[in-house]
Amino acid sequence: MKLAMQSRKSQLKMGETVAILFIFFILLTIGAVFYFNIKRASVTREGSEQFELKAVEITQSISFLPEAQCTESNVVKASCFDLYKLIALASLKNDPKIVRTYEREFGQSALTIRQVYPPGANYTIYENPPPQFNDASTTNIPISLYNATADRYYFGVLEVKVYR
Protein backbone atom coordinates (compact mmCIF):
# COMPACT_ATOMS: atom_id res chain seq x y z
CA MET A 1 0.00 0.00 0.00
CA LYS A 2 2.74 2.39 1.05
CA LEU A 3 4.83 1.38 -1.99
CA ALA A 4 1.92 2.06 -4.32
CA MET A 5 1.40 5.49 -2.72
CA GLN A 6 5.07 6.36 -3.17
CA SER A 7 5.01 5.22 -6.78
CA ARG A 8 1.94 7.42 -7.45
CA LYS A 9 3.72 10.37 -5.78
CA SER A 10 6.69 9.92 -8.12
CA GLN A 11 4.35 9.69 -11.10
CA LEU A 12 2.70 12.92 -9.99
CA LYS A 13 6.10 14.62 -9.72
CA MET A 14 7.04 13.33 -13.16
CA GLY A 15 3.72 14.60 -14.54
CA GLU A 16 4.35 18.00 -12.97
CA THR A 17 7.79 18.24 -14.63
CA VAL A 18 6.34 17.22 -17.97
CA ALA A 19 3.56 19.80 -17.60
CA ILE A 20 6.07 22.56 -16.81
CA LEU A 21 8.10 21.58 -19.82
CA PHE A 22 4.97 21.48 -21.95
CA ILE A 23 4.03 25.02 -20.87
CA PHE A 24 7.62 26.16 -21.41
CA PHE A 25 7.63 24.83 -24.97
CA ILE A 26 4.21 26.33 -25.65
CA LEU A 27 5.49 29.72 -24.50
CA LEU A 28 8.59 29.24 -26.65
CA THR A 29 6.45 28.39 -29.68
CA ILE A 30 4.22 31.43 -29.12
CA GLY A 31 7.35 33.58 -28.84
CA ALA A 32 8.82 32.08 -32.00
CA VAL A 33 5.56 32.57 -33.95
CA PHE A 34 5.34 36.17 -32.73
CA TYR A 35 9.00 36.80 -33.63
CA PHE A 36 8.71 35.30 -37.10
CA ASN A 37 5.52 37.24 -37.83
CA ILE A 38 7.25 40.48 -36.85
CA LYS A 39 10.25 39.46 -38.94
CA ARG A 40 7.99 38.76 -41.92
CA ALA A 41 6.34 42.18 -41.52
CA SER A 42 9.72 43.90 -41.37
CA VAL A 43 10.93 42.01 -44.46
CA THR A 44 7.80 43.12 -46.35
CA ARG A 45 8.40 46.68 -45.20
CA GLU A 46 12.04 46.48 -46.27
CA GLY A 47 10.87 45.23 -49.66
CA SER A 48 8.59 48.27 -50.02
CA GLU A 49 11.44 50.53 -48.93
CA GLN A 50 13.71 48.97 -51.55
CA PHE A 51 11.02 49.44 -54.17
CA GLU A 52 10.65 53.10 -53.21
CA LEU A 53 14.42 53.57 -53.33
CA LYS A 54 14.49 51.97 -56.77
CA ALA A 55 11.79 54.38 -57.94
CA VAL A 56 13.80 57.34 -56.60
CA GLU A 57 16.97 56.00 -58.22
CA ILE A 58 15.27 55.65 -61.61
CA THR A 59 13.79 59.15 -61.34
CA GLN A 60 17.24 60.53 -60.52
CA SER A 61 18.85 58.62 -63.38
CA ILE A 62 16.37 59.89 -65.97
CA SER A 63 16.67 63.45 -64.61
CA PHE A 64 20.43 63.30 -65.24
CA LEU A 65 20.36 61.35 -68.51
CA PRO A 66 22.81 63.15 -70.84
CA GLU A 67 20.93 61.88 -73.91
CA ALA A 68 17.85 63.84 -72.79
CA GLN A 69 19.21 66.87 -70.91
CA CYS A 70 19.49 70.38 -72.33
CA THR A 71 23.08 71.48 -72.84
CA GLU A 72 24.75 74.55 -74.19
CA SER A 73 28.46 74.22 -74.99
CA ASN A 74 28.33 71.01 -72.93
CA VAL A 75 27.03 72.86 -69.87
CA VAL A 76 23.95 71.09 -68.53
CA LYS A 77 20.84 73.13 -67.67
CA ALA A 78 19.16 71.92 -64.50
CA SER A 79 15.75 70.20 -64.74
CA CYS A 80 15.57 70.82 -68.48
CA PHE A 81 15.01 68.28 -71.26
CA ASP A 82 15.80 68.85 -74.93
CA LEU A 83 12.58 68.39 -76.92
CA TYR A 84 14.34 67.12 -80.05
CA LYS A 85 16.41 64.64 -78.07
CA LEU A 86 13.15 63.35 -76.55
CA ILE A 87 11.53 62.96 -79.96
CA ALA A 88 14.66 61.14 -81.17
CA LEU A 89 14.70 58.94 -78.06
CA ALA A 90 11.00 58.13 -78.43
CA SER A 91 11.51 57.13 -82.08
CA LEU A 92 14.54 54.98 -81.22
CA LYS A 93 13.06 53.31 -78.14
CA ASN A 94 12.78 49.96 -79.93
CA ASP A 95 16.38 49.95 -81.19
CA PRO A 96 17.82 46.71 -79.71
CA LYS A 97 21.08 48.28 -78.51
CA ILE A 98 19.28 51.24 -76.92
CA VAL A 99 16.76 48.88 -75.30
CA ARG A 100 19.62 46.82 -73.85
CA THR A 101 21.42 49.90 -72.54
CA TYR A 102 18.36 51.41 -70.87
CA GLU A 103 17.06 48.11 -69.53
CA ARG A 104 20.10 47.99 -67.26
CA GLU A 105 19.33 51.47 -65.97
CA PHE A 106 15.54 51.69 -65.83
CA GLY A 107 14.53 48.04 -65.39
CA GLN A 108 10.80 47.44 -65.40
CA SER A 109 9.42 50.93 -65.69
CA ALA A 110 7.83 53.41 -68.08
CA LEU A 111 9.14 56.94 -68.64
CA THR A 112 6.86 59.51 -70.24
CA ILE A 113 7.30 63.24 -70.74
CA ARG A 114 4.14 65.34 -71.09
CA GLN A 115 4.15 68.86 -72.50
CA VAL A 116 1.73 70.75 -70.24
CA TYR A 117 2.10 74.41 -71.23
CA PRO A 118 1.48 75.20 -73.99
CA PRO A 119 -0.44 71.92 -74.33
CA GLY A 120 1.53 69.54 -76.54
CA ALA A 121 2.48 65.97 -77.20
CA ASN A 122 3.47 63.16 -74.83
CA TYR A 123 6.75 61.31 -75.42
CA THR A 124 7.22 57.81 -74.08
CA ILE A 125 10.96 57.34 -74.14
CA TYR A 126 11.12 53.98 -72.38
CA GLU A 127 8.55 51.32 -71.65
CA ASN A 128 9.20 47.90 -70.19
CA PRO A 129 6.27 46.66 -68.12
CA PRO A 130 6.44 43.12 -66.74
CA PRO A 131 3.85 40.65 -68.10
CA GLN A 132 2.12 40.71 -64.70
CA PHE A 133 2.55 43.27 -61.94
CA ASN A 134 1.04 43.80 -58.49
CA ASP A 135 1.80 47.41 -58.00
CA ALA A 136 3.19 50.46 -59.80
CA SER A 137 4.61 53.57 -58.21
CA THR A 138 4.23 56.80 -60.19
CA THR A 139 6.40 59.85 -59.60
CA ASN A 140 5.65 63.15 -61.33
CA ILE A 141 8.36 65.78 -61.58
CA PRO A 142 7.85 69.19 -63.23
CA ILE A 143 10.48 69.96 -65.90
CA SER A 144 11.33 72.43 -68.64
CA LEU A 145 11.30 71.34 -72.28
CA TYR A 146 13.60 73.23 -74.62
CA ASN A 147 12.77 73.60 -78.29
CA ALA A 148 16.13 74.37 -79.93
CA THR A 149 14.72 75.50 -83.28
CA ALA A 150 12.17 77.93 -81.81
CA ASP A 151 14.44 78.81 -78.87
CA ARG A 152 11.47 78.41 -76.51
CA TYR A 153 10.98 76.67 -73.18
CA TYR A 154 7.81 74.75 -72.43
CA PHE A 155 6.48 73.53 -69.10
CA GLY A 156 6.40 69.74 -68.93
CA VAL A 157 6.09 66.83 -66.55
CA LEU A 158 8.31 63.80 -66.28
CA GLU A 159 6.22 60.78 -65.31
CA VAL A 160 8.16 57.82 -63.96
CA LYS A 161 6.17 54.63 -63.44
CA VAL A 162 8.03 51.80 -61.74
CA TYR A 163 6.41 48.35 -61.75
CA ARG A 164 6.77 45.51 -59.30
Binding site: L27, G31, L53, C80, N140, I141, P142, Y153
Partner: protein
Protein backbone atom coordinates in the same frame (compact mmCIF):
# COMPACT_ATOMS: atom_id res chain seq x y z
CA UNK B 1 7.85 29.42 -5.48
CA UNK B 2 6.53 28.07 -8.82
CA UNK B 3 4.05 30.91 -8.92
CA UNK B 4 6.86 33.44 -8.62
CA UNK B 5 8.73 31.80 -11.50
CA UNK B 6 5.61 31.89 -13.62
CA UNK B 7 5.04 35.57 -12.76
CA UNK B 8 8.61 36.42 -13.79
CA UNK B 9 8.19 34.56 -17.09
CA UNK B 10 4.87 36.33 -17.81
CA UNK B 11 6.43 39.73 -16.98
CA UNK B 12 9.38 38.97 -19.27
CA UNK B 13 7.05 37.94 -22.11
CA UNK B 14 4.94 41.11 -21.70
CA UNK B 15 8.10 43.22 -21.70
CA UNK B 16 9.28 41.45 -24.87
CA UNK B 17 5.95 42.03 -26.61
CA UNK B 18 5.89 45.71 -25.59
CA UNK B 19 9.46 46.12 -26.83
CA UNK B 20 8.58 44.52 -30.17
CA UNK B 21 5.44 46.68 -30.53
CA UNK B 22 7.39 49.86 -29.75
CA UNK B 23 10.37 49.28 -32.03
CA UNK B 24 9.04 47.05 -34.79
CA UNK B 25 5.31 47.40 -35.26
CA UNK B 26 4.98 51.11 -34.42
CA UNK B 27 8.15 52.04 -36.36
CA UNK B 28 7.26 54.76 -38.85
CA UNK B 29 8.00 53.76 -42.44
CA UNK B 30 10.71 55.99 -43.94
CA UNK B 31 9.44 58.68 -46.28
CA UNK B 32 12.22 58.29 -48.86
CA UNK B 33 10.13 58.68 -51.98
CA UNK B 34 7.65 61.21 -50.59
CA UNK B 35 10.39 63.54 -49.34
CA UNK B 36 12.40 63.14 -52.58
CA UNK B 37 9.32 63.91 -54.70
CA UNK B 38 8.46 66.94 -52.54
CA UNK B 39 11.95 68.40 -52.76
CA UNK B 40 12.17 67.77 -56.52
CA UNK B 41 8.72 69.25 -57.01
CA UNK B 42 9.45 72.46 -55.12
CA UNK B 43 12.74 73.21 -56.89
CA UNK B 44 11.72 72.06 -60.37
CA UNK B 45 8.26 73.65 -60.32
CA UNK B 46 9.67 77.14 -59.69
CA UNK B 47 12.44 76.80 -62.27
CA UNK B 48 10.17 75.34 -64.94
CA UNK B 49 7.45 77.98 -64.46
CA UNK B 50 9.88 80.90 -64.49
CA UNK B 51 11.70 79.59 -67.56
CA UNK B 52 8.56 78.88 -69.61
CA UNK B 53 8.01 80.96 -72.73
CA UNK B 54 4.51 82.40 -73.04
CA UNK B 55 2.26 80.85 -75.64
CA UNK B 56 1.06 84.08 -77.23
CA UNK B 57 2.64 87.08 -75.52
CA UNK B 58 5.30 88.37 -77.88
CA UNK B 59 7.66 85.48 -77.13
CA UNK B 60 8.24 86.72 -73.57
CA UNK B 61 8.91 84.26 -70.78
CA UNK B 62 7.01 84.04 -67.50
CA UNK B 63 9.86 85.77 -65.62
CA UNK B 64 9.61 88.84 -67.87
CA UNK B 65 5.83 88.96 -67.50
CA UNK B 66 6.10 88.64 -63.72
CA UNK B 67 8.72 91.37 -63.53
CA UNK B 68 6.55 93.68 -65.65
CA UNK B 69 3.52 92.90 -63.52
CA UNK B 70 5.44 93.57 -60.27
CA UNK B 71 6.69 96.92 -61.58
CA UNK B 72 3.28 98.10 -62.80
CA UNK B 73 1.01 96.15 -60.51
CA UNK B 74 -1.50 99.02 -60.05
CA UNK B 75 -2.20 99.17 -63.80
CA UNK B 76 -2.06 95.41 -64.28
CA UNK B 77 1.26 95.55 -66.14
CA UNK B 78 2.54 97.40 -69.20
CA UNK B 79 3.02 94.43 -71.55
CA UNK B 80 -0.08 93.80 -73.58
CA UNK B 81 -0.27 90.34 -75.12
CA UNK B 82 -1.62 89.33 -78.53
CA UNK B 83 -5.00 88.35 -77.08
CA UNK B 84 -5.38 91.71 -75.29
CA UNK B 85 -4.57 90.48 -71.80
CA UNK B 86 -1.96 92.47 -69.87
CA UNK B 87 1.01 90.87 -68.10
CA UNK B 88 -0.60 90.49 -64.63
CA UNK B 89 -3.70 88.74 -65.92
CA UNK B 90 -1.69 86.68 -68.38
CA UNK B 91 0.80 85.48 -65.79
CA UNK B 92 -1.96 84.75 -63.25
CA UNK B 93 -3.98 82.70 -65.69
CA UNK B 94 -0.91 80.89 -67.02
CA UNK B 95 0.37 79.90 -63.57
CA UNK B 96 -3.16 78.87 -62.52
CA UNK B 97 -3.47 76.73 -65.67
CA UNK B 98 -0.12 75.05 -65.02
CA UNK B 99 -0.96 74.37 -61.37
CA UNK B 100 -4.43 73.05 -62.22
CA UNK B 101 -2.98 70.72 -64.85
CA UNK B 102 -0.37 69.32 -62.50
CA UNK B 103 -0.37 69.75 -58.72
CA UNK B 104 -4.17 70.02 -58.37
CA UNK B 105 -4.65 66.84 -60.41
CA UNK B 106 -2.03 65.04 -58.33
CA UNK B 107 -3.82 66.26 -55.16
CA UNK B 108 -0.66 67.92 -53.89
CA UNK B 109 -1.04 70.49 -51.12
CA UNK B 110 0.75 73.66 -52.18
CA UNK B 111 1.09 77.37 -51.58
CA UNK B 112 2.62 79.48 -54.36
CA UNK B 113 3.10 83.23 -54.28
CA UNK B 114 5.11 86.04 -55.86
CA UNK B 115 5.46 89.64 -54.78
CA UNK B 116 7.88 92.43 -54.00
CA UNK B 117 6.43 93.59 -50.69
CA UNK B 118 6.84 91.90 -47.33
CA UNK B 119 3.53 93.36 -46.18
CA UNK B 120 0.91 90.65 -46.63
CA UNK B 121 -1.77 93.30 -47.28
CA UNK B 122 0.03 94.62 -50.40
CA UNK B 123 -1.09 93.21 -53.73
CA UNK B 124 0.84 90.20 -54.98
CA UNK B 125 1.74 89.24 -58.54
CA UNK B 126 0.00 85.97 -57.80
CA UNK B 127 -0.97 83.81 -54.84
CA UNK B 128 -2.39 80.30 -55.11
CA UNK B 129 -3.09 77.65 -52.55
CA UNK B 130 -4.54 74.14 -52.65
CA UNK B 131 -6.15 71.98 -49.98
CA UNK B 132 -5.74 74.70 -47.32
CA UNK B 133 -1.92 74.57 -47.47
CA UNK B 134 -0.19 77.54 -45.82
CA UNK B 135 3.51 78.36 -45.79
CA UNK B 136 3.67 78.09 -41.99
CA UNK B 137 2.81 74.40 -42.06
CA UNK B 138 5.46 71.66 -42.21
CA UNK B 139 6.72 71.02 -45.72
CA UNK B 140 9.35 71.89 -48.32
CA UNK B 141 9.88 75.38 -49.65
CA UNK B 142 11.98 76.96 -52.36
CA UNK B 143 12.50 80.68 -52.90
CA UNK B 144 13.42 82.37 -56.18
CA UNK B 145 14.50 85.98 -56.29
CA UNK B 146 13.93 88.22 -59.31
CA UNK B 147 15.23 91.80 -59.49
CA UNK B 148 12.63 94.46 -60.37
CA UNK B 149 12.53 98.29 -60.28
CA UNK B 150 10.45 97.99 -57.10
CA UNK B 151 12.98 95.84 -55.31
CA UNK B 152 13.55 92.10 -55.26
CA UNK B 153 10.53 89.97 -56.10
CA UNK B 154 10.31 86.76 -54.09
CA UNK B 155 8.69 83.74 -55.68
CA UNK B 156 7.76 81.19 -53.06
CA UNK B 157 6.96 77.59 -53.82
CA UNK B 158 5.76 75.67 -50.80
CA UNK B 159 4.64 72.05 -50.78
CA UNK B 160 2.96 70.92 -47.56
CA UNK B 161 3.88 67.47 -46.28
Amino acid sequence: MELMGLTIIVILIILGILFAIKFVILKKPPETKASFTRSQMTSNLGMAILQSTSKNCKGTDVTELMTDCAQWIETGGLISCEDGRNSCRYVNETVAWILNSTLVQWKVKYYVSAGTSKNPKDPKVFEFSNLKCKDNQPGNSELFFLPTDRGVMTVKIFICS
